[in-house]
Point group: C2
């Protein structure tokens, strides 16, 4: 059963996981999309980086979060994509060996058009020590049933 705009309630909270972060995936994403040394060079990162070792690209963390969202909250959602994201933050680094999970909370519904509405939801990503490593407010377009 698709989840339409009308099926989503402000205050809905869901958690989804887990995503196991490997060193290989951190390096391979960063080499392709974010080849800064603190993402791609474990030796230099161990010696020179304020993080004490290689950390995931922030865009990789966003992408892993999206994977958990798509498998979880959005799995049955009747969406046609997102308009954008606000207040995207990376409060703590993501490291090899971390296990990530997400919490998604619906903040606001905006009817917008007869055929679709906007769902504003805050997604927070946590590591195995319950530290928030990522957060954002997404603006996702949901189709409306049209029967109300």
């Amino acid at each position: 059963m698709p989840v339409y705009y009308e099926d989503v309630e402000v205050g809905d909270v869901e958690t989804h996981g887990d995503y196991e972060v490997t060193r290989e995936e951190i390096l391979s994403f960063a080499e392709r999309y974010d080849p800064q040394w603190f993402h791609t060079d474990p030796d230099r990162a161990a010696e020179e980086s304020p993080y004490g070792g290689v950390i995931a690209s922030g865009w990789h963390t966003a992408a892993m979060t999206m994977r958990l969202l798509v498998e979880g909250t959005l799995a049955e959602a009747a969406t046609v994509g997102a308009k954008g994201v606000d207040e995207l933050r990376w409060p703590e680094p993501v490291r090899p060996g971390d296990t990530l999970r997400i919490e998604n909370e619906v903040l606001e519904k905006v009817p917008e058009r007869p055929e679709r509405g906007l769902i504003r939801a805050r997604t927070r990503t946590y590591n195995g020590d319950d530290e928030a490593v990522f957060s954002m407010i997404g603006n996702v377009m949901y189709l409306r049933r049209g029967d109300d």
Copy 2:
């Protein structure tokens, strides 16, 4: 020569490119991180999607933008990563065959700490038809020379 906080001026504008977007890369990124049908299923997307065909995951567009930033504006920058991003938008979809370039404009400098400062810059990504397909305001931490 590393580019420190002191070397960046409000109003600086740079453009960098190009990035050729292939169908293979759109599908492969989406299968891994954003497996929604309008990113992964060209046949269904051609028939059912409002976009008329498969489009890149918004996180893929962000990642390709980051690649252009890292090769361009950030290539010599003395940064230790970003705190976050505001006002991230995807005004138009990215499609197979698109050629992307970025424009980066420095909006604000915040001294923050003796050893580092924050550079707020707007990055816009354009396709070959000069349509903006992505924009964001990044908050990047630059090291300070410490000689001023």
